[in-house]
């Protein structure tokens, strides 16, 4: 759906998530509710290989990189949750 760009190969993953990451300050200026990613996790099969809880201080459309354990051909699933409670998942085959 174009919400996430995942690159996963050789044990290293790079994920770019499309998200405004509005901080409380920015949201106040725009007159809207602050909304930013609060948690990102990655799973391969049924194992969680990466997990981070985040704050409003990640960049807009944040790019994150992390190492993971997974084999070529397996699928890595990235899931993020944001302040509004929305959860979005996207998966990619590991190269």
């Amino acid at each position: 759906m174009g919400k996430m760009k995942i690159k996963a190969k050789k044990g290293k993953a790079k994920v770019q998530i499309k998200h405004d990451m509005l901080t409380y300050d920015q949201a106040k200026k725009k007159g809207v509710e602050a909304n930013f990613i609060t948690h990102i996790s990655a799973t391969v099969g049924d194992k969680t290989v990466f997990e981070v809880s985040t704050s409003q201080f990640l960049s807009k459309n944040p790019l994150i990189k992390f190492p993971f354990v997974g084999n070529k051909g397996e699928k890595i699933v990235i899931t993020y949750t944001d302040l509004s409670g929305k959860t979005v998942s996207s998966s990619k085959k590991i190269k």
């Binding site: 990451m21 981070v52 809880s53 201080f57």
Partner: protein
């Protein structure tokens, strides 16, 4: 409050903390971390009153001068066997930026882009599997502040 009682309370609080933090959403379990303004307050809210040991084994990669405070690339590398890794900085109104849960079998080699309102110091705290807390920090400058969007 008589000091002995106070210390006792502190110990009791520690005992309640779960032994393992796997698959934890730190935002719900440690909400105070995210509202703490100063780095040491956020560290205390997240890990408790722990002694931070300065470690040479934590590498923080940040540009000396970031041209855009809205997207500062930060790299964290360490060989320390860790349970969690936390990133703080003192340039924004709240100091906590991210808390990673280190997956079994993976090394600490994280990269992410963060917002820095202005020049400041980035601090990393690594919660080792040995129960100790290691820290390292790096100062950097921001040419254009990044919180105003």
């Amino acid at each position: 409050m008589d000091r002995r009682k106070f210390l006792g309370l502190g110990l009791a609080a520690v005992a309640v903390v779960p032994a393992t933090l796997s698959a934890t959403d730190f935002r719900s379990t440690k909400p105070d971390t995210w509202t703490a303004h100063k780095v040491d307050e956020a560290v205390k809210a997240l890990y408790g009153d722990v002694t931070l040991i300065k470690s040479e084994d934590i590498t923080i990669k940040v540009p000396k001068i970031a041209s855009n405070g809205g997207a500062v690339p930060v790299g964290v590398k360490s060989d320390i066997k860790a349970k969690t890794v936390a990133l703080f900085q003192d340039a924004n109104p709240e100091s906590a930026v991210a808390v990673w849960e280190v997956a079994e079998g993976t090394e600490i080699a994280y990269g992410l882009k963060i917002k820095m309102k202005g020049s400041g110091t980035v601090t990393i705290v690594v919660e080792g599997t040995d129960g100790k807390f290691y820290t390292a920090s790096k100062a950097m400058q921001v040419a254009l502040g990044g919180c105003e969007g």
